[in-house]
């Protein structure tokens, strides 16, 4: 028995787009942009915060000197944990470098109706559907609603969405809101689910999503919500939708410079308010289709840009909000599967933390839970590649090879018994023989996706019955108060 000296292993394969020098150059591009071009901040209090920290402020424009940026980056946490509200640990999220979780996305106006398969407005009941289905999908690590509820009081879609979703899944929810008030309502619900404010601080159970406007604009509500989350130490995303050739330069390096700069404004605000609070950056990175003026969600550039930005964001020491599993197609078809396969694999290999938009169709305008179900399978396939395999004495199998010898087979060897179950097993992909496939009704992938999705909608038990009674009634109270608030402000 001997050991191998100076032996190196790769735990997983990797996708690398940029060299250290290139990352540094993009990082410095961000520093130059924030220092000399500046960013618009439509929030007096935020501008004061920046000014007091050493930034130059001219009207609504804020210029950030390097020392302010570097100081903010020095206090971002290297690791943050997000806990399922039911106290279990299987669905716990660890936000740290190269650990990927996949989920749907927020707020498209439309939804593919699970019964008719037709596109229609997103309704309140859909939030529950998405939460329940995602709760059951093993490769979905965080949940967003895939829509913006159209059939509740105007301005309360955010609050109803969270109320319904958090009670229908233990997978951590990523919420969004219109304003600070919605943010506060949602936070109170999360605190109720955690069992108290101190409990929430110890074990945060959701993530908040906010978005500045590209190029280089933090509107009032975006930065206001960012500040609120920092105050309450809610893990938050602050990331733009950067539109290549539209809101940002048509060159990929230029796009990353602007996108990084936009996010950095939120990072700085959050770290000034509450050093150590978790801010996730990145955002949707893709190009404008110059034929149809559509922001493409299926473009290969989306994958390239996102993977490259993941590297730059890691260079900053921050977690990355990336995307995959989305498509420009209008109906579940070959295009949706092709685009999702490519982007999911690239996102997986890039090591981004929160990979959203799994279930976005029609270039982000329609949520489709069937797409999410398909993506779940693709994610599990990509994980096989990401997990790679061990090369050691046991797996090298030289002794077994010797004992079976030429011309034998391995089917019932102890070694095979021990290892074959590590093979990936499809839940949707068809590997049946021709006759078997005919016997089972000649089902296509589309048939199987619909069947699986509808089965989950109908039969997945979900955690709804386990929601503590006190939290449940508190959430109903918060909804009532929110309605009251809107009524009062309308009467004014």
């Amino acid at each position: 028995m001997s050991t191998r000296t100076n032996y190196t292993i790769f735990e997983s394969p990797r996708l690398q787009i940029l060299s250290e020098d290139q990352k540094e150059r993009i990082f410095n591009g961000m520093m130059r942009t924030l220092q000399y071009t500046g960013a618009h901040v439509h929030h007096e209090e935020a501008r004061k915060l920046f000014k007091d920290a050493g930034c130059r402020v001219d009207g609504i424009k804020v210029f950030f000197p390097p020392e302010v940026i570097l100081k903010a980056l020095s206090t971002v946490p290297p690791v943050t944990e997000i806990f399922p509200w039911d106290g279990t640990t299987e669905k716990k999220i660890v936000v740290e470098k190269n650990r990927s979780y996949f989920g749907p996305g927020p707020t498209p106006p439309n939804f593919i109706d699970p019964d008719t398969l037709e596109r229609r407005k997103y309704l309140r009941k859909d939030a529950t559907t998405v939460a329940r289905v995602c709760d059951a999908l093993p490769n979905i690590g965080f949940v967003q609603s895939l829509g913006s509820i159209s059939d509740v009081t105007n301005g309360l879609a955010d609050v109803y969405e969270f109320a319904d979703m958090v009670r229908n899944t233990t997978t951590p929810v990523m919420s969004w809101s219109f304003t600070r008030e919605g943010c506060r309502d949602i936070h109170r619900m999360a605190v109720a689910m955690a069992g108290g404010e101190e409990e929430f601080r110890q074990r945060p159970n959701y993530i908040f999503y906010g978005e500045p406007i590209s190029p280089l604009v933090s509107d009032f509500h975006a930065i206001d919500k960012c500040m609120y989350c920092a105050e309450e130490r809610i893990p938050q995303v602050y990331s733009p939708c950067a539109i290549g050739g539209g809101t940002v330069p048509a060159t990929h390096a230029g796009q990353l410079v602007v996108a990084l700069s936009e996010s950095m404004v939120g990072v700085i605000a959050a770290q000034l308010i509450n050093p150590g609070t978790c801010v996730i950056i990145g955002g949707v990175q893709s190009i404008l289709d110059m034929r149809y003026s559509v922001y493409s969600y299926g473009a290969p550039e989306l994958s390239l840009l996102s993977a490259a930005l993941t590297e730059v964001v890691q260079y900053c020491g921050l977690p990355m909000y990336s995307q995959s599993g989305c498509t420009d197609t209008k109906k579940m078809d070959m295009q949706s599967a092709m685009e999702a396969s490519l982007s999911i694999n690239a996102a997986m290999m890039s090591g981004a933390n929160f990979v959203h938009d799994n279930g976005y169709t029609e270039s982000g305008l329609t949520g489709d839970i069937f797409q999410t179900v398909m993506d779940d399978e693709l994610i599990s396939m990509a994980r096989v590649i990401e997990r790679s395999f061990d090369v050691n004495r046991e797996t090298l199998s030289v002794d077994v090879i010797d004992s079976v010898g030429p011309g034998g087979h391995y089917l019932y060897e102890d070694h095979t018994m021990k290892w074959f179950r590590a093979y990936w097993m499809p839940t949707l992909m068809d590997r049946n023989g021709y006759e078997g496939w005919v016997d089972e009704g000649k089902k296509t992938m589309k048939d199987r996706i619909i069947e699986k999705t509808r089965d989950l909608i109908q039969n997945h038990e979900g955690p709804r019955s386990k929601v503590p009674a006190a939290a449940d009634s508190e959430i109903e109270n918060i909804l009532k108060e929110a309605e009251e608030r809107v009524r009062k402000s309308e009467n004014k």
């Binding site: 439509h42 707020t107 106006p109 439309n110 913006s148 159209s150 105007n154 301005g155 879609a157 219109f178 406007i213 604009v217 509107d219 539109i243 050739g245 539209g246 809101t247 048509a250 404008l288 110059m290 034929r291 149809y292 003026s293 559509v294 305008l365």
Partner: protein, 214 residues
């Protein structure tokens, strides 16, 4: 003269903003009839651009560049044109509704309409409902354009249309709306006349609408 008009068309198609201005100015200095510069130089140029775009020969940034060139040329030409020469296209007031800071889609649409010969009054982003009404009363446009990118600000569009009715000027103009979350159904719901799914097709759709009214 014909040669100059050809040059004007070409310069427009190439999107040469400064060169086109110079060419138009030179032609005016040489006493070319302003209406000819518009009808036989600029408009045929824009028509060619529209055709090339439809056929996939030109792309959005190039078309916008041409629209920008057109707009620059019109700045010089407009004061020299008689009222009847301008009549064909019309006048537009356009803006992004209150609470919404998104201006790119709206600016693209504004530019496309300018390119098509419209006189465009762009009132900007985050405009309260009253600003639209005020601008509509002041400028008497034939077309009122509204844009929103947020589902929360979309309802403002319906409110503006109601205010136009209250002010008794709703029938004086067509209302066109657009923005990523805006749909045909929503446009019908709030009583807008034209729904533009994107900036590129807006001019064409407006044209179709006016033709259907004739």
């Amino acid at each position: 003269m014909t040669n100059d008009l050809g040059k004007i068309s070409d310069s427009l198609i190439k999107g040469n903003v400064d060169e086109l201005k110079e060419l138009v100015q030179q032609s005016l200095d040489a006493d070319a009839p302003p209406a000819d510069l518009l009808n036989k130089g600029l408009l045929p140029g824009m028509e060619a651009v529209g055709r090339k775009w439809k056929e996939g020969e030109m792309f959005m940034p190039e078309v916008l560049r041409c629209a920008k060139a057109m707009s620059g040329a019109m700045e010089i030409l407009r004061p020299r044109l008689a009222k009847e020469d301008l009549g064909s296209a019309g006048k537009m007031v356009i803006g992004t509704v209150a609470g919404d800071l998104h201006d790119i889609g709206k600016d693209l649409a504004a530019m496309m309409f300018e390119g098509a010969g419209y006189e465009v009054i762009n009132i900007g982003i985050d405009q309260p409902n009253e600003s639209f009404i005020k601008a509509a009363i002041e400028h008497k446009p034939t077309l009122l354009g509204m844009s929103a990118l947020l589902t929360t600000t979309m309802p403002r569009m319906g409110e503006v249309i109601n205010s136009l009715k209250e002010a008794g000027i709703r029938d004086k103009m067509a209302v066109i709306i657009g923005g990523a979350p805006v749909t045909k159904e929503f446009a019908d719901e709030i009583g807008a006349d034209i729904y533009a799914p994107n900036a590129g097709t807006a001019v064409e759709l407006a044209k179709e609408y006016y033709q259907s009214k004739v």
